[in-house]
């Protein structure tokens, strides 16, 4: 051992030696030094004794069985996307209440089967908007069951005029509309009722997405999400309604849309 090695360096070396992390050559040098230097030999013994004391007094712990069960259940629930209403573990309730709950809903517990990252992110935002809309005072900016009141309300607030229908006759009365912000742009949110349930419809002008029929995107926290795309608009609907009823609703909107666009298509014909 070099005589100019400082005590600090020596202490680091001693720790690395005790941990078996010293290069073999350095280890041999240190062993030689330990035989010659009583001070360092004492320090070495003290370190070995400390490690033994730590292992004796500070145990590695076993995860409580309850935690083990909860983690397993949560993983199955999140990854498997079981059809049943997901059960939020009780411990997560406190978490959600304490933390920014919407962020946790969107980030922490998504059904991860979503294949495209973009869709995943959008679904998170749509769900967060839906949950926020259910908080007092956030549901509607314009309250009316009259589509001819709700539709003009968006004029000057959006760069498009969203189609608004009332399905009161089919059991989905229009409740109102509001401005929302999803996918980095202002969007129209239309609110419909179904018995005591609420349905949020988000729509914005379709970009380069291909046409698609209503298809389930995800089921989380007891909410179902469907999305589809028309030639003009990208639609997302979210509700705590059952999937079948939500699907019926999506078809109502889709039929109303295609009925409304037929004249335009006809006009385009020669």
């Amino acid at each position: 051992m070099e005589s100019n090695v400082t005590h600090r360096e020596l202490e680091l070396q001693l720790d690395a030696y005790v941990d078996g992390e010293l290069e073999p050559e350095d280890a041999r040098d240190l062993e030689t030094h330990l035989q010659e230097c009583a001070d360092c030999a004492r320090r070495h013994e003290a370190r070995v004794a400390l490690s033994a004391a730590i292992r004796e007094q500070i145990p590695a712990l076993h995860a409580p069985d309850a935690l083990r069960g909860r983690v397993r259940a949560t993983l199955r629930n999140v990854a498997g996307g079981s059809a049943s209403r997901p059960v939020l573990p009780p411990i997560a309730g406190r978490w959600l209440a304490l933390a920014a709950s919407l962020a946790v809903v969107a980030v922490g517990s998504w059904r991860l089967a979503l294949s495209r990252a973009g869709e995943d992110a959008l679904a998170g935002q749509v769900l967060a908007s839906h949950v926020r809309s259910l908080m007092p005072g956030h549901l509607t900016d314009v309250v009316s069951s009259d589509q001819h009141t709700v539709k003009p309300w968006f004029n000057g607030r959006l760069d498009f005029s969203p189609p608004v229908y009332d399905f009161a006759g089919r059991g989905f009365p229009l409740i109102g509309g509001r401005l929302d912000y999803v996918g980095g742009r202002p969007v129209a949110a239309l609110v419909y009722g179904r018995r005591q349930h609420l349905v949020n419809v988000f729509l914005w002008p379709a970009t380069r997405e291909s046409l698609s029929d209503p298809s389930p995107v995800a089921t989380r926290q007891g909410y179902h999400l469907l999305r589809w795309t028309t030639p003009e608009y990208a639609y997302w609907v979210v509700s705590d309604l059952g999937v079948a009823e939500l699907h019926d609703f999506a078809q109502l909107v889709q039929q109303a849309d295609s009925a409304a666009t037929i004249p335009a298509a006809a006009r385009a014909l020669p």
Partner: protein
């Protein structure tokens, strides 16, 4: 996620639940918080599992990878709840094992005039506490500890050495007490 993917995740990551809980428990010094953190960490791990697989890692790597997520979750949690923690700091029932932080004299008196190694560990800053847990309790290599804590190996060495010196002082102080 495919069922087989979940099985892979469970096979690689779930066996390290004890290690995850141990780290979270010693970082938070609180069972309830540790359980919340571990649960959240597993959700995050599942979310990022695709990126982890890319590394072609074996089960041993799975442990360091998971512990890094547990650690980050715990630190995020700590920042988020710092205001909360300050408000309830002196709630004996909730934070009885953290009281020694603020009343060392009272702690000494209560425990028969000797501070235990356990209490000495609890009083270390989290950066020191975690290297002790990862090295002494979990047996991670310096390289793995560096991966978990996101610092160079030289920093791992110096933190470990300083942490041990502090614990050693506590231990020998305890011995002095016993002698008198």
């Amino acid at each position: 996620m495919e069922p087989s993917e979940l099985e892979r995740f469970e096979a690689i990551v779930l066996p390290h639940l004890d290690a995850a809980y141990t780290l979270a428990r010693y970082l938070t010094r609180n069972d309830h918080d540790a359980q919340d953190i571990v649960q959240d960490a597993y959700l995050r791990a599942l979310k990022y599992f695709g990126g982890f697989r890319g590394g072609g890692a074996d089960a041993r790597d799975g442990r360091a990878w998971l512990l890094a997520i547990v650690r980050n979750t715990a630190y995020t949690w700590r920042r988020r709840h710092r205001a909360d923690a300050l408000a309830t700091e002196f709630d004996e029932e909730q934070h009885s094992d953290a009281v020694a932080d603020h009343h060392p004299a009272a702690a000494l008196e209560r425990d028969g005039a000797r501070e235990s190694l356990h209490q000495a560990l609890d009083r270390l800053p989290p950066e020191f506490r975690e290297v002790i847990v990862l090295r002494e309790l979990e047996g991670l290599s310096y390289k793995e500890i560096g991966d978990v804590t996101g610092v160079p190996i030289g920093t791992v060495m110096s933190r470990l050495s300083r942490a041990r010196r502090r614990l050693q002082e506590a231990l020998s102080a305890g011995e002095k007490w016993r002698v008198t």
